[in-house]
Symmetry: C3
Subunit: 304 residues, 3 copies
Amino acid sequence: MKLARKDILGIKELSVDEINLILDTAESFIEISTRDIKKVPTLRGKTVINLFYEPSTRTRTSFEIAAKRLSADAVNISASTSSVVKGETLIDTAMNLEAMNPDIIIMRHSAAGAPHILSGLIKQSIINAGDGAHEHPTQALLDMMTIREKKGKIEGLKVAIVGDIAHSRVARSNIYGLTKMGANVTVAGPATMMPRDIDKLGVRVCYHLEEAIKDVDIIMVLRIQLERQENNIFPSLREYSNYYCLNARNITLAKDDVLVMHPGPINRGVEIAPDIADGSHSIILDQVTNGVAIRMALLYLLTG
Amino acid sequence: MKLARKDILGIKELSVDEINLILDTAESFIEISTRDIKKVPTLRGKTVINLFYEPSTRTRTSFEIAAKRLSADAVNISASTSSVVKGETLIDTAMNLEAMNPDIIIMRHSAAGAPHILSGLIKQSIINAGDGAHEHPTQALLDMMTIREKKGKIEGLKVAIVGDIAHSRVARSNIYGLTKMGANVTVAGPATMMPRDIDKLGVRVCYHLEEAIKDVDIIMVLRIQLERQENNIFPSLREYSNYYCLNARNITLAKDDVLVMHPGPINRGVEIAPDIADGSHSIILDQVTNGVAIRMALLYLLTG
Amino acid sequence: MKLARKDILGIKELSVDEINLILDTAESFIEISTRDIKKVPTLRGKTVINLFYEPSTRTRTSFEIAAKRLSADAVNISASTSSVVKGETLIDTAMNLEAMNPDIIIMRHSAAGAPHILSGLIKQSIINAGDGAHEHPTQALLDMMTIREKKGKIEGLKVAIVGDIAHSRVARSNIYGLTKMGANVTVAGPATMMPRDIDKLGVRVCYHLEEAIKDVDIIMVLRIQLERQENNIFPSLREYSNYYCLNARNITLAKDDVLVMHPGPINRGVEIAPDIADGSHSIILDQVTNGVAIRMALLYLLTG
């Protein structure tokens, strides 16, 4: 089966069949990264450009490793060393890259919708590696892959997503994906971090951590973006932590075999207690491992 | 035929035969970037270093893609993350790189003549990727390649180069190249942006855009370097734009089949109107595509 | 023979047999970098991560070239563009990288002991590329390789190390290595740059350059870190230079065939006179060449 799609812009557009195809393909790629020779010639002679307008370690590195394990050539462009400083528009930058005949452009941008704008203008495939507070589809795909791997299914699972729902592209992509795949999703966070009308996306809304995680199978803890503190979204880190930090005490409200996820980077002691991040329920590092496989799958499926 | 030359420092030194050899070789490489597998093993086991003391997206990326499509290993060094911050001299940096046995060092530097200084000291090939306001030979070569591709020849064509002639390495390299190849070159710009004695290079000098582009085959629009504004070279962007912006009105003075070129990045609405940059006369993105081929040709010819 | 060791954290831990194995292996790799096709398939499908928390040209480039000449995939992460800016701990960054299944993580960090902390937590090999003022083992290995290459042996040689001994990881690693290998090591520098109890490491301590280099076979000049000047370690550069700069006059005190080494980058005229750095006694660029070979050897031996 093939992915009949030029770009991966968001989870919102993907069908259940497409998500399953991506997860199945990723699963078949997992093994490559455990080999002694972690490389297959599948994408030899393909050019993959990582165009990152926001700093990133894990996502950029994950895509770069994914490309190289498939034998593609990876070229990194980060905004700080690019002609962005010379005032070129995003569209002109992208059109210029297009003219160099890459096969896939992976982009992260602080503006929601940036990759969607390029999608119609550029003939090559675009993978959204995070656009503002909008979507981060590869994160949601690796999250769903990890849940399916650990629980054997997604359908019927109770999932709580906890944190700054309003500003989280990870939350948004997971809400689209998990509800599509039949999970029961609860979002939780302070009222100032909860977008209006979020319930219209088919999720239950809570304002208390304890209520949200009661009897759930999965807790997805979101990263508190410390740089937003100045915007008066929340009164203080300590206060946020008092009410929303997942810790050894409140986690007992969830199912005994609850799994704890986090997209990283972690603020230890802010949104998640260190013993939970490192504890037996945590599958945070499995998410990272699966991230490489998901990205290999997308590079493979889009160059088909 | 071979290029009997260790370095590519400027167009000034190149003979017509050498320029033709480079353009012919680049033409034969164009096709590789359109293949499904965009890679040939020609430079396997060669090491290419991109040593950039000034920020760049397109030139660095173009060289990196060129190197990888020929199977060379490309190593990027940008001044901001290098021992430049530790106060090492340019010569010591270069001698150290030489000691690691690369095959080609591509360098961009803000000082005119920087690659020429290294040329005599370093046994490996050096390609000048822009030195101050002096030369940018690969840009001129890709420009000449694009003109030849679109017009079938360079000889006898009327070419206008418009903008800050005094501070443009693109202008200087193109003046050397185009006059050598038999084009009739006119340069145009405000008096404060016109170097003394520029007419001695064999070009006609104009101070009015309309006069310069009358009946020409090619208009090369230069980028206004906004960062120079503070130096009082021109009174205001708006004023520059009023007199020198290429737009739908003044372009009608040129030949009907005039071609519009720009080295990028574009300042839309400053030196070129958006509808001209994106319009049917524009071959700006063809220049970018040919840039990869020109750089492949040089890497090939210099390691040959 | 194999290297029965997961990591290269410092010279302190290495046995004489291990050092000899590394130098012998590096010697056999020297030839690859002089070939027309400078590449062997030995580490195809291996992933090497350069994790640099401090800026570096030569060490990072040397490791990257070493990896590529062995056909490994190299991924660069520099602190300035990484999630370090998002406040992630070093351990979390490393655990995340581990989860992407690299084979070797090369790291430079301003904190002494940083790679040692990770060593116990990470299953992949770690190579210390410099940790604070503690160790820089690959530098000492390439230094020992260069001495052995030029002098035929290390045992019995008289070596003077001159400069800011207290803050130099190069000095520390070389003291461990050279004394182990049977050299007679003298350290010299102003009292403010001399660590207490340094003589317990088996070296002779001098406070005068002339005394230190009398009749020596090797002078290792250390880089003065200009950024430390503000800490009042030394009164002025000129004064330092007056007493400790190696020049054409004082070098005559050493043996006639004395060799001069420097880890780079050089401060010309501060710790070493230009005519000495570039003169016939200098083997500074041989050190750089051997650096690639030493790093190839370590990548090879650790992935063995």
